[in-house]
């Protein structure tokens, strides 16, 4: 009888800290909803009963950055708004992730203009670029699952202020 089986029979499970912390973190990714324009509507649809982001443990949309893990930047970011987005991002506790939802946020999209930031990666570290104008809610769920994968595969003590893995690009629908 090995140690593991002995512990099992006593009601214990063995695991590593990384696996445990990763599992806990990926199952409770609380989003900061930065619904700046029309993508915000699709983000709300994700929170609704049909798509139901609660299935992924992310139903707790927090309107204070202090309690958030992932920032959903949903909408066109203008130069004026960029300072606000950055300020909110800075207030989020580490570890934190960013989803750039929609083409405006990812690249400026159709707003090739003086007032719009041509992609929020000019001032924020982005983990997931999500294509679509706006992306369908299921596409946002896909992005969330990719974030969960990323969180699960990150070692607990490796969290820093910078993204650890290369950004993942999600293809459009």
């Amino acid at each position: 009888m090995g140690l593991e089986a002995k512990l099992m029979s006593d009601g214990f499970l063995t695991t590593t800290i990384d696996a445990l912390v990763g599992w806990a973190r990926e199952s409770s990714v609380w989003p900061m909803p930065m619904g700046i324009s029309c993508c915000g509507i699709e983000m709300m649809a994700v929170a609704g009963p049909k798509y139901d982001i609660a299935r992924f443990g992310s139903e707790v949309m927090r309107f204070t950055p202090r309690q958030c893990d992932v920032m959903l930047v949903a909408g066109t970011v203008t130069y004026k708004m960029s300072h606000v987005v950055k300020k909110i991002y800075d207030q989020m506790p580490d570890p934190k992730w960013v989803i750039a939802m929609g083409v405006c946020t990812s690249t400026g999209g159709m707003y090739r203009s003086y007032s719009v930031v041509q992609g929020i990666d000019h001032f924020l570290p982005v983990d997931i670029y999500l294509a679509g104008c706006p992306p369908r809610p299921d596409n946002l769920l896909n992005a969330l699952m990719l974030i969960q994968d990323k969180i699960k595969n990150t070692k607990a003590r490796e969290f820093q202020n910078i993204p650890l893995l290369e950004p993942v690009k999600v293809n459009g629908n």
Partner: protein
């Protein structure tokens, strides 16, 4: 007699010295006149017993780029009583483009004039609060002028530090 046919004779009667250029395009009446008269004309149109143009819907401008009087300022006004919409137009010079503010006449013009100032750099004299509307306060350019490039001037707007 339709309200549309009354406006110009009434204006001409009140301001006999002024030349009113009238354009009627598909039922939309536009009246162009000297920029210095915008407040008296506006007051007259608003307070006249029959006309009652009591609502200012928009103030904007046109940049003609090459004309000597480069900018045309456009006022969209509406008479709720007569259900009639009218455009007023005034030309201003390129050097120090300015016109008297119509905020004392129509309060709603306040933000419209700020927006026009922000985008074209036209000064509205005696405006109660002539600040920029969309662009940052310290911004040096006027984005809707023809010489302004579409993608802006590099480095004119700051991004937060990465």
């Amino acid at each position: 007699m339709e309200i549309k046919d009354k406006i110009v004779p009434l204006l001409q009667e009140q301001f006999p010295e002024t030349n009113f250029e009238v354009t009627d395009f598909r039922g939309d009446l536009k009246i162009k006149f000297d920029a210095s008269l915008i407040v008296p004309v506006g007051n007259f149109l608003k307070q006249h017993d029959e006309l009652k143009f009591n609502m200012c819907e928009d103030v904007t401008a046109v940049d003609w780029a090459t004309k000597k009087k480069r900018f045309t300022i456009i006022y969209h006004i509406y008479s709720l009583e007569n259900k009639f919409r009218l455009r007023l137009a005034c030309d201003v010079e390129e050097n120090h483009p300015h016109i008297e503010s119509v905020v004392p006449v129509w309060k709603s013009a306040n933000w419209y004039e700020r927006e026009t100032y922000d985008m074209y750099g036209i000064k509205f004299d005696n405006h109660p609060d002539l600040r920029r509307m969309y662009m940052p306060e310290e911004y040096e350019y006027y984005p809707l002028r023809k010489e302004y490039p579409l993608m802006g001037i590099p480095g004119d707007l700051t991004l937060p530090k990465k």
